[in-house]
C-alpha cells in the first residue's frame, strides 16, 4: 500500500513532464503516421479498395508523361510563387500606412482583416459574381463606361484565370500578413526611430536600414506561412473556375480530391510527394538566407 502511495505521489509531482504527451499522441496518430505511409503508398498501385501492390518507382516515372498532373503542379507552384511576394509587399505597405496614428485606427485594421475571416469559398463566389462573363458587375460597369476590358474573359483563359486567382487570394489574405507586420513594427524601439530622425535619415533610408532589418522575424513567418498556405489552395479555385477550362487551372489539392475516389490513390500520393520535394529547396534556401540577415535587437 505504501509503495502504491509513493508511486502515485511521484506521478503527481512529475505530471508536468507528461503534459506534452496528449499533443504528441494526437499528432503522431493523425499526422506523422499518415505522412510516413504517404511515402510507402506512393510506391504502390493502391486503388482505395483492394490491397496495394508494390510497384517500385513506376508512379514517379509515369508522372513525367502525365500532362494533367504536371500542369497541376505548375499551376500550384505558380499560384504560390505569385501569391507569396504580393501578399508580403502589400501586407507590408498596409502595415506601414496603418501603423501611423490616426482616428479609428483599430476599426480600419479590423476592416482590413475582415476578408480573411470569411470562407474563401464564399469569397470565390463573390468574385465569380463580379467577374463572370457577360453578366458580371465588372462587365456591366466596363460596358457602360465603354472600357476595353469589358470583353476580357477573366476566367476562361488559363493565364488570366491564374492571375485572377492569385489576385483574389492576395486580396483576401493581405490582412493576416498585415497584422503580423504591424506586430513586428510595434516591437521596434521608439528610441531607434527617433535617433534616425535626429541624424537626418530620410524615410526610405530609415525603411531600408532600420525597419526592414528589424522586422526579419515577421518577414520569415509571413513568407513561410504564405507559401505553405498557397500550396494548399483549394476553395478559391473550386468557387471561381472549378479547375477549368479543362484542367487548366486545377491545383494539386483538387487533383488529389478527384483521384481519391478513382483508381489512382497510390499514384496521386506519388504526385503529392513530388510536390513536397519541389517546395522543399526554395523554403530551405529562403530560411538560410533570412537567418543570415537577422539582427538581434
Amino acid at each position: 500500500m505504501k509503495f502504491l502511495k509513493t508511486f502515485f505521489n511521484k506521478i503527481n509531482s512529475n505530471l508536468h513532464y507528461l503534459m506534452v504527451l496528449p499533443a504528441i499522441i494526437l499528432f503522431s496518430i493523425f499526422f506523422i503516421c499518415p505522412l510516413l505511409s504517404v511515402i510507402g503508398l506512393s510506391l504502390t498501385d493502391y486503388n482505395g479498395l483492394t490491397a496495394p501492390n508494390f510497384i517500385g518507382f513506376k508512379n514517379f516515372v509515369d508522372f513525367f508523361s502525365d500532362l494533367r498532373a504536371r500542369k497541376d503542379i505548375i499551376n500550384t507552384v505558380f499560384f504560390a510563387i505569385g501569391s507569396a511576394p504580393l501578399l508580403n509587399i502589400f501586407g507590408f505597405i498596409y502595415a506601414l500606412v496603418l501603423d501611423k496614428n490616426f482616428k479609428a485606427k483599430s476599426i480600419v485594421r479590423a476592416i482590413v482583416y475582415l476578408p480573411a475571416i470569411i470562407s474563401p469559398l464564399i469569397m470565390g463566389y463573390i468574385w465569380y459574381f463580379i467577374l463572370q462573363p457577360k453578366r458580371g458587375i465588372l462587365f456591366i460597369i466596363a460596358k457602360t463606361l465603354n472600357l476595353g476590358i469589358a470583353n476580357t474573359n477573366w476566367l476562361g483563359d488559363r493565364y488570366i484565370a491564374l492571375l485572377v486567382l492569385v489576385f483574389v487570394n492576395v486580396w483576401q489574405y493581405v490582412g493576416i500578413t498585415m497584422i503580423i507586420y504591424l506586430a513586428g513594427l510595434q516591437l521596434i524601439p521608439v528610441e531607434v526611430m527617433e535617433a534616425a530622425k535626429i541624424d537626418g535619415a530620410s524615410y526610405f533610408r530609415t525603411l531600408r536600414s532600420i525597419i526592414i532589418p528589424l522586422i526579419t522575424p515577421a518577414i520569415k513567418i509571413n513568407v513561410i506561412t504564405n507559401i505553405i498556405g498557397s500550396l494548399s489552395v483549394f476553395e478559391i479555385i473550386v468557387a471561381l473556375t472549378d479547375g477549368g477550362p479543362g484542367y487548366n487551372t486545377e491545383s494539386l489539392s483538387i487533383y488529389i480530391l478527384r483521384m481519391v475516389h478513382g483508381a489512382f490513390a497510390g499514384y496521386s500520393t506519388a504526385v503529392a510527394v513530388i510536390l513536397f520535394f519541389i517546395i522543399l529547396p526554395p523554403v530551405v534556401i529562403f530560411l538560410k538566407w533570412i537567418r543570415s540577415k537577422e539582427v538581434e535587437m
Partner: protein, 268 residues
C-alpha cells in the same frame, strides 16, 4: 498646413478600407436585393433570408460547424498550451526534438497526407462523424499553436510559477492556476486563427463528411451554389447567415488579437 499634410495619409487609409470592403458591399447588396429589380443600392428586402434559411438546410450546418469548431478549439487550447509549457520550461533533448519536429511539419501542406489519412479514418469508422473531424482539424492546427504558446510562455518570468510552487502547488497545478490565465492574449490569437480556419474548412470537410446531415456551412453553401447557382440573392443571404457567427466571435476576441500574435510569433 497640418491638415494638408495629413491628406495623403487619410487618402491611403480610405483607399485601403474601400478595397477591403467592396465584396461585403456586393454581398449585402445581393442579400438585401429584390430579385425582380436590379440596382446598386440595397433595397432592404429581407425575404431572401427567410427563403434562404428554408431552402438551404443551413440551420443543421450551423450546429455541425459549431460542434466541430468548439470541439477542435478546446482540444487545441488544452493540448497546445500544456505542450508549449513543457517545451518552454524544460530544455531537454526530448522536448527540443518535439519542438523541431512540429516546426518542420508546419512546412508540409496538409493536402499531402490526405489519402492515407482518409484510409486511416475509414478503418476506424470515422467518416461522417464529428469526432474524427474534430481530431483531424485539431491535429492540423497543433504545430502553429504549440509554436505560439511556447514563445509566449518563454516571455513569462519563471518566478511567477515558482512562487506558486513554494506555496504548495505542484508544477502541474501551478500551470493551470497561475500560468494559464496569463496566456489570454495568445489564447485569443489561437482561438481566432484556428476558429476561423476550422469554421471555414472545406478541403477536409469534403473528404470526411459526405452525408447531408453532417454538412458544415461551407459544404452547405457549395451544395446550395450547385443547386441554385443562378439565384445570387439567395446565395448571398445564405452566406451572410453562415458568416454571422464567426464575425461575432472575431469582434469579441480581436481586442487581444494583435498582442497575442506579436508576442507569440515574433518576440520569441
Amino acid at each position: 498646413m497640418n491638415i494638408i499634410k495629413k491628406i495623403p495619409k487619410y487618402f491611403m487609409i480610405l483607399i485601403i478600407s474601400f478595397i477591403s470592403i467592396i465584396p461585403f458591399y456586393v454581398l449585402l447588396l445581393l442579400a438585401l436585393g429584390d430579385p425582380s429589380k436590379k440596382s446598386f443600392l440595397p433595397q432592404w428586402y429581407f425575404k431572401n433570408f427567410v427563403e434562404a434559411w428554408n431552402k438551404s438546410n443551413i440551420g443543421v450546418s450551423i450546429i455541425n460547424s459549431f460542434i466541430i469548431t468548439t470541439g477542435a478549439i478546446i482540444i487545441i487550447v488544452l493540448f497546445a498550451s500544456s505542450a508549449g509549457y513543457t517545451i518552454a520550461r524544460f530544455n531537454n533533448k526530448f522536448n527540443l526534438i518535439i519542438f523541431w519536429t512540429l516546426l518542420a511539419c508546419m512546412m508540409i501542406p496538409g493536402i499531402i497526407n490526405t489519402i492515407p489519412l482518409y484510409v486511416l479514418i475509414r478503418s476506424i469508422n470515422g467518416i461522417n462523424t464529428h469526432w474524427a473531424m474534430i481530431l483531424i482539424l485539431a491535429t492540423n492546427a497543433l504545430p502553429f499553436s504549440v509554436f505560439l504558446y511556447t514563445s509566449f510562455i518563454k516571455s513569462i518570468p519563471k518566478d511567477i510559477e515558482e512562487a506558486a510552487i513554494i506555496d504548495g502547488c505542484t508544477r502541474f497545478t501551478a500551470f493551470w492556476r497561475v500560468i494559464f490565465p496569463l496566456l489570454k492574449p495568445v489564447t485569443a490569437a489561437v482561438v481566432i486563427i484556428n476558429g476561423v480556419g476550422i469554421w471555414n474548412n472545406y478541403a477536409q470537410a469534403i473528404f470526411f463528411l459526405q452525408i447531408k446531415s453532417m454538412r458544415t456551412i461551407p459544404l452547405s453553401i457549395s451544395m446550395f451554389f450547385q443547386r441554385y447557382g443562378a439565384d445570387w440573392n439567395l446565395m448571398a443571404a445564405t452566406s451572410i447567415i453562415g458568416i454571422a457567427p464567426i464575425l461575432v466571435m472575431f469582434l469579441f476576441f480581436q481586442k487581444f488579437f494583435i498582442e497575442g500574435i506579436s508576442v507569440g510569433s515574433i518576440k520569441g
